[in-house]
Amino acid sequence: MPNTTAPIARLDGVIKTYGRLTALDGADLQIRRGELLALLGPNGAGKTTAIALLLGLIRADSGKVELFGQDPQRIDARRRIGVMLQNAALPPTLRVNELLRLTASYYPSPRPLAETAELAGIGELLSRPYAKLSGGQQRSVQFALALCGRPELLFLDEPTVGMDIEIRHKLWAAIRQLIAEGCSVLLTTHYLEEAEALADRVCVMAHGRMIHEGMVEALRSRVSLKRIRCVSALDVELVRSWKHVTDVRRDNERLHVTTAEAEAVVRRLLDADAQLSELEVQRAGLAEAFTELTRDADQSSTTHQREAA
């Protein structure tokens, strides 16, 4: 097997419990070189535990955890990663350049400070004390700290929470540039739009397990639902009563219909309203796919419990 396709980080059948709570229940995860893997799942699915294991913050009860083929608790393995956690209150009185210099000192061959600042878009902030920055700027600084060591694998845990749209898009551009340089990224996010914009692969977790792993396109196509949009005067309740229609909603003169049988519903729409215009049909997005997947997992897990009881 060529080394390039071997995973650079992986969980293999990992179980982790906190007292009676099972956070991970046989979790498997592989991150390959140069890819962006989005780890998705509702709160409590086990994402944070999975990341904590890969960062060496906690130990697994059983199963295998590897970072560059080593135990993540070894500093050698961690010298090749960059980390941006969900919440980290950095020293408020230190200036941005001091924070960058400190974090860069942990790495064997860090990026020059100016390059890091440029990439993270914080060139203007270097001499400002951290406490004087806005929430979005603080997140940008944390992102800069994550990439300053020239990591081969970047952990980004909800990186864009608290960022406005402009800063968020800058961060996305920076992430794309890092991936182009060959860096791998493990991203967790609540914004499915973010996963859709950046990820090569997604891994969906629920109840401590991976319930789906695959390319973004493949996940989207698993969902049979389509979205129909058109300008029409038809009554919402009338359309809702039609066969195959899962949801209808009106947005001014525009009608939004969700259905598994787009062709049949479109035909009926056209028949019912001769004035209908601006017709569009789209495959449902990651958001719908995600909702459907996790709902299935919830159902199967409750059946499981019922069987066990």
Partner: protein, 260 residues
């Protein structure tokens, strides 16, 4: 085959020259000092507590040998502060705010975090010693030899360490803003019970008897010796302080392993 490849790989990428590792320790200590020296709300109470007491009781209300005695006891009192609060408060807050978690995830050299805080506490303790010495020599007119001054400063710089360990242990027991309150509950009674405010001989017999169980008592014996007021053996006190350091450090490490 895969194992061989990944081993080669890791050797290549993780080679960190020792100069850079040393640099990381230095950078950590420098940041730790800078951040707290820039936080007056944190540093001033540590410096002012003992100096103001000494000005009141050692300069305004007492003279001569009493000033010498009080220089020793307020030095001990002042040295304990940076250890307890420098370690305890910052650890409790950094555990709460997620900074410790981030540092553990980053490839920070092991020990750099604690060493950084230790250096900060030693510098703050030295500043306290110098301030008290200045007041003692120039305002209270306590006559001290250069050796005595050096001994007192040395006691300050190293005497802070057992209290760093105690502060660290307390910092592992409590998270966030509750730490200063708990630390004061230890700091003030302990100082009183080991004779740092009133000479031990003025306390009830039973309190005099149990005074040696407090680490601050042993530190006070060393500061008294430094200014020439204790001719007894010093080794037992040094050993007692080292023992406390080890015990609190082990307790803290055990607690950190358990709660993170």
């Amino acid at each position: 085959m895969e194992t061989v490849l990944s081993t080669d790989d890791s050797v290549r990428a993780s080679a960190m020259p020792w100069q850079r590792v040393l640099g990381a320790y230095g950078a950590e200590a420098r940041s730790e000092c800078l951040r707290y020296l820039r936080a007056p709300g944190f540093i001033l109470p540590m410096l002012l507590f003992s100096t103001v007491f000494y000005l009141m009781f050692g300069v305004l209300l007492n003279h001569g040998e009493a000033s010498r005695y009080l220089l020793a006891s307020y030095s001990a009192f002042g040295i304990i502060g940076p250890g307890l609060f420098g370690f305890g408060v910052s650890l409790a807050i950094e555990r709460d705010g997620g900074l410790l978690t981030l540092k553990r995830a980053l490839p920070m050299p092991p020990g750099a975090y604690l060493l950084g805080k230790m250096v900060m506490a030693m510098i703050a303790a030295t500043i306290v010693s110098v301030l008290l010495l200045l007041i003692g020599v120039f305002l209270a007119h306590v006559s001290l030899s250069v050796t005595q001054i050096a001994k007192l400063m040395l006691t300050g710089a190293f005497g802070v360490l057992p209290f760093c360990a105690l502060g660290m242990f307390v910092g592992t027991l409590i998270k966030g803003q509750g730490a200063p309150g708990l630390l004061n509950l230890i700091y003030l009674p302990m100082a009183f019970l080991s004779g740092l405010w009133l000479p031990l001989t003025m306390l009830p017999q039973v309190l005099q008897k149990i005074a040696p169980i407090w680490p601050s008592y042993h530190l006070n014996q060393l500061t008294l010796a430094a200014v020439g007021l204790n001719n007894g053996a010093l080794l037992p006190h040094v050993l007692a302080l080292m023992g406390y350091t080890v015990i609190f450090l082990l307790l803290a490490v055990r607690q950190l392993r358990r709660v993170g």
